[in-house]
Symmetry: C2
Subunit: 110 residues, 2 copies
Amino acid sequence: MNDLKFQFKIQVFKTIPSFGPGIVRLMELVEETGKLSEAYRIMGLSSSKGWKIIKRAEEDLGYTLIISVVGGSGGGKSELTKEGAEILRKYKAFLDELDVEVDKIFKKHF
Amino acid sequence: MNDLKFQFKIQVFKTIPSFGPGIVRLMELVEETGKLSEAYRIMGLSSSKGWKIIKRAEEDLGYTLIISVVGGSGGGKSELTKEGAEILRKYKAFLDELDVEVDKIFKKHF
């Protein structure tokens, strides 16, 4: 069985699984592009679907992750809140360490 | 953020993610009950949905996981193949070790 691979997904949350690969990708794209609409476009998300992903995580965690300023030159701009940037950084550090450890454990068993 | 929890799901596969929590639970129930129909009932799966989960994993892995014998006293009986029992045992051992390690790494980061 040496040709087997693995794939894992991890959610971090208070009450309902809400902060995982979807919101993380969305937040990374907001950091990169500064535009929520651009993040949705790249991910192929409708704005209502994207909004649900954000609201679900914000309601579960109890704080705002992304703020948007409407208008101004070049249209609206979005960015992560301080708390949003912090949980994103923690999640990515957690994931980086997991990637290494899960791979080691996988190789022991398969 | 000390009130955060985590949840992870892991798939093991050759080409497409196919062997994860769903098929694992189904196979455990087949082991426990000896009846695929009973496993479906407990999981709230239609037989077509259950069949898809099994076929997807069997096609990806390249071997049969569950065999069923129709009829006989008390109706049909299902059981895991030797290969099915082996991958189930490996997955569960892998998961048991992961549970401990992921928890440790989570506590370091959150």
